[in-house]
Amino acid sequence: MKKLKKEHLRILFGGLTESHRVIGPKIEGGVVVLAEIAVHDIPAGFEDRQMAGSYRLVTGERPEIFSFSAGPDSFKRFLHPPVSEMFAFKSSRTAIAITAPDCQGKPLAFIGVRACDIAALKLYDKVFLGGAEKDQCYESRRKDSLVIALDCSYPGDNCFCHAMGTGPSVMDGFDIALVELDASFLLEAGTIAGQRLLDVLSLEEVTEGDMKERSSRTERCLGMMKKSIRTEDLPGLIYRSLDHPRWMDIAERDLECGNCTQVCPTCFCHSHYDFVRLAGISPRAREVSGTRVRKWDSCFSRNFARVHGGNFRPSRRARYRQWMSHKLAYTFEQFGLPGCVGCGRCITWCPAGIDITREVEALRDVR
């Protein structure tokens, strides 16, 4: 582990922008979003006030550069884009031509990835790369990407990563890990690619005082975390509660707008469509050309589990249950990982303010 003076962060940035699209935090419409940024875009000193169904950004007193917590976006917007072309097709009655898209762009470098999102990224890697079939576009984006992780100095008001065992400190899964101190960043390389980036920086040795500061910061962050989930036997709780009356209660409030699934860094569900413009249709020649498109979808969409002849989850109650059960129970069986990483996004960005931590507590109540 080494130390970098804060003002030298831009040098790290400079090195990155030559070879990568640097994706990091930036303010847009009063919200910290992720976008391609320059070092001065980082909303240093801003603080977010989050509640269930509420988010406000304020200029605060905090001295840190990364003084804010996670906004609605995560890496998933870039590694698994909301809308992407799977292939282009041109078909006639007797021939089909399929052209795969080129998903190789400039490699991505994610800066300031929190521990919770690293846990989510691990799940994403299992989904898209861990099976017998791999998602080739995800693979090409992912393998060239750099993850520059960051320990949280402050938790968001809806965070509960400590309960899920995913944060607030970054443990693994990074190319470079940053820890922000008063005057400097601690840096640790996790991969050779990360080490190469560090090699060109003028780094200082880490002192005992720095390490002390680091652990007291982690302690402070943990101490400030307001939310929690009792995780003992969480999957068991969910499996036992599939008929719990609480689901009905949630369904009364649930807007089934899908916001929670769109901001959740582990939600990966999507749908495929054929997109054909009028110019692509030639009935006389029986030809059609267009693109097959993949879009983020959500288990809250009414038709998500529909087949011809019926819908497997016709009620809102069942759709909400599906989402929460997937987050808190199913992923353990599917991927051996938690589907909820404790980032609190679903709580903040739910217009109805449904709080997953409270709903779990309610499920724990004996009927």
């Binding site: 078909s91 089909i96 599906q322 997937h326």
Partner: protein, 281 residues
């Protein structure tokens, strides 16, 4: 190997109308390399793709030993309607094979009971044809019994009706219909397929069961067979769900924690019995 997320082209060799709303089409994979690499097991499915319309998951209804790769389809939505309009020589897209098939290796030393409802016969026809073909190659084991129970709505809805005489060579075949029009010639049973369990005598301790049909029919069959003493690990069901990707990424086919597309569609009853009782999972 080839990329199973991108369709390859397959030519329609022939189509055959089975019942008023089902048909079988035989496909030939166009690309020689893929054709060579393509291997499937009875019970697996393909995604059939009509460009401009979309994809549908369709069970393979032929045996791997058959010369033709067949799919039997019920006309239900846009894709299946488009498929029903195909003629020999037409080209469509195809991806697959996907999923876990029937555990035929477990059938080696056991009696086999096939229970099908409606179009659920399609992936089981693959088994029946397979057994028929391998049986011809092997010396007949006189002690091994094979039974096929099939229920359809009406006599007119019996798919592969012309093939049952052949299956009777090595299967004990029993057919039933929910209701038979008195005008129609029907000498089989009337009633649910589970009723046919009374018509056969079998040793539950050494019988392997494959069931495919509507979910409620599979659930009832499973429970009934357990009551009759069949161990729940020897009962297999083939589930149906919405499918988009076929490779465990899109999330449409979740049945509780199971991906029906890759963990299934064939499941051991013991794996999913607990989930089957839960509404709207």
């Amino acid at each position: 190997m080839y990329d199973k997320s991108v369709p390859f082209d397959a030519k329609v060799k022939w189509t055959k109308k089975e019942t008023r709303d089902t048909f079988t089409c035989a496909l030939k994979i166009n690309n020689r390399d893929i054709q060579k690499a393509y291997r499937f097991l009875p019970g697996q499915f393909n995604m059939l793709y009509v460009p401009g319309i979309g994809e549908a998951p369709i069970s393979i209804s032929s045996s791997p030993l058959d010369h033709d790769l067949m799919h039997t389809v019920r006309v239900a939505g846009d894709v299946t309607t488009a498929l029903s309009n195909l003629r020999a020589g037409d080209m469509i897209g195809m991806r697959g094979p996907f999923g876990r098939g029937w555990p035929l290796e477990e059938a080696e030393d056991l009696d086999l009971l096939i229970v099908a409802g409606g179009l659920g016969i399609a992936p089981l026809r693959s088994v029946a044809r397979h057994v028929l073909k391998t049986h011809a190659a092997k010396k007949r084991d006189a002690h091994q019994r094979r039974m096929l129970l099939y229920g359809a709505k009406t006599p007119k809805d019996i798919v592969f009706r012309d093939e049952f005489p052949r299956y009777r060579d090595i299967f004990e075949v029993f057919l039933t219909v929910d209701r038979a029009d008195p005008e129609e010639y029907w000498r089989g049973e009337a009633g649910l397929v589970t009723k046919l369990f009374d018509r056969i005598t079998f040793d539950p301790r050494c019988t392997l069961v494959f069931v495919c049909g509507p979910e409620i029919m599979m659930q009832n069959s499973g429970r009934e067979l357990i009551l009759r003493g069949v161990p729940e690990e020897r009962i297999f069901l083939s589930m149906e769900r919405n499918m988009n990707c076929g490779i465990g990424m899109c999330g449409h086919c979740f049945f509780g924690p199971k991906f029906v597309c890759k963990d299934g569609p064939v499941f051991r009853f013991s794996e999913i019995e607990g989930l089957m009782g839960i509404k709207e999972l």
